[in-house]
Amino acid sequence: MADVDVRLVNVTKKFGDQTAVDGITLDVSDGEFFTLLGPSGCGKTTTLRMIGGFEQPTSGLIELKGEDVTFLPAHERDVNTVFQSYALFPHLTIFENVAFGLRRSGIKGDEVTSRVGEALELVQLIGYEKRKPAQLSGGQAQRVALARALVNRPAVLLLDEPLGALDLKLRKQMGIELKRIQREVSITFIYVTHDQEEAMTMSDRIAVMNKGHYEQLAGPETLYERPTTRFVASFVGASNLLEGKIGSDGESWTVTLPSGDVVRAPKSLGDIGTGGAIGVRPEKLTLLEPGQESKGNRLDGTVVDTSYLGVLTQYTVEGAGGLRLLVSEQNVDRTTRSDTWRPGERVALTWKPEHGFVVGDSKSA
């Protein structure tokens, strides 16, 4: 286990009587790409701003490299930020923007020139030194903001939705570049986004936030395969949640649906608590003819909608009692098979119990 770089202990921030951040405790390790993921207004920016020193916690403790910095002003912290709006200084050239932090720490002359050069090379902006920020495209401005922060070789880099203003294609491209740079400089990144795809592709670990706290903290794979709350299950990827009467049968949890059907999931997948549910991802479901034999969980229904998405086809199946389930199938046989499922057809849905997941009691009700 690498050293802990950033530690938050029970950090709470209130604005008036509104709680923006509600008792967050987490450790971020040295060199990690750590992401705060969550919907708008869940407190991501506020959390980041407290780490950066722009906001003081109402209560709780923040440590950087083992040192308590809870009330240390921003300019004394070994942390740099890439702001969502970039916040480049409009009156300074790109060179002076990038050199700003170096000059503040008393570095002079040739060292400034060479380090700014290195930083601009890293973000592939050599030759732009003399321009003003207004003469850059959004993607270039974002890279200058990154260079301006990285050139100081901070212990931790905070990034607040740095790709938010870019179009989809540039965003993907910059995402890959960010990840490359992070590997190259091996600085701890704390990254804020509301885009789950972005979070999944770049992060080592993700904290999925909701209403001021995080519901689950795990690697991308675990978050997808084993979400532990309803919120995480529906925020990260698509999910089918099966709600009903909870029971126990040997090594399995059982949920008796309103229709009377019973679905199962192994207890080893997690604790269902008293108000949890069993879930299953759309691609783990298999569609069968109503008469076909199957093992494991099985529900009957009617196809009500299909949409062709290239790589896969997505079906909406309505079961007994109005239960709607999403199913996706790879289009491997599409070119040779003519009998795809059509709206109105009766089908059976099956999946292995161990392919599902179990969500527990909702933390925020």
Partner: protein
Amino acid sequence: MLRWLGRNALRAYTGLALVYLLLPIFIVALFSFNDPVGKTNYTWVGFTLSHWANLFAIPGLLDSVVVSLRIAFISTLAATTLGTLAALALVRYQFRGRPATSLFIFLPLATPEIILGASLLTLFVAIGQPPFFPLNEFTILIAHITFNISYVIVTVRARLSGFDRRLEEASADLGADGWQTFWRVTFPLILPGIAAASLLAFSLSIDDFVITNFTAGRTTTFPMFVWGSARVGVPPQVNAIGTIFFVVAVSAVAIGSFLQRRRA
């Protein structure tokens, strides 16, 4: 056809408006080259450069110009400094009495000059009968700073409210303390606003007559000199000085906007 008319009517109208605005100034400048007969300088007699050559031949004229310039410089400097700091405080901080302060700032702008002048006179007299608080250049200065602060605050505040605070956070993030952030980020960015404010303050101070007249005591500023001499006939030198003021002011504004355009 209608289009042609529309475009050219606008041009003609603009031209007329400019002529209307500039004609009096042109006449003032022209008559500084006049060679009048007698004391009044209202009819064109002949061309001469002698008033420009003997600019300060009129007794008291030079003194009054010097007094006016001194008051304008000092009151501009003081009002710009105090007004900028006040604008920063009003935009940046929440404090008790902030709404009231915002209101009071508008009072000198909204009050008729004659009321402001009379009330300042009352104040100075009430503070202490001469010679404890004599009316002189110093009281004029106080009066000018008083109304100029309001103009500076309003101008600088407009510039500040469009200011992106995140730039200051970015500066702090990069290791600059409050002082460095102010001088390296905030100040350069609001400088055009401060410059505009000080130009305004300077021009308001140098041609103020009403308030100055109330608070001057026996001091004579340039506008007061002109007023005084108008009763017996304004000498052409006054026209010459007025022309100089006008040219300097227009150049200052032109240079200012040129610099600002190059910066952007």
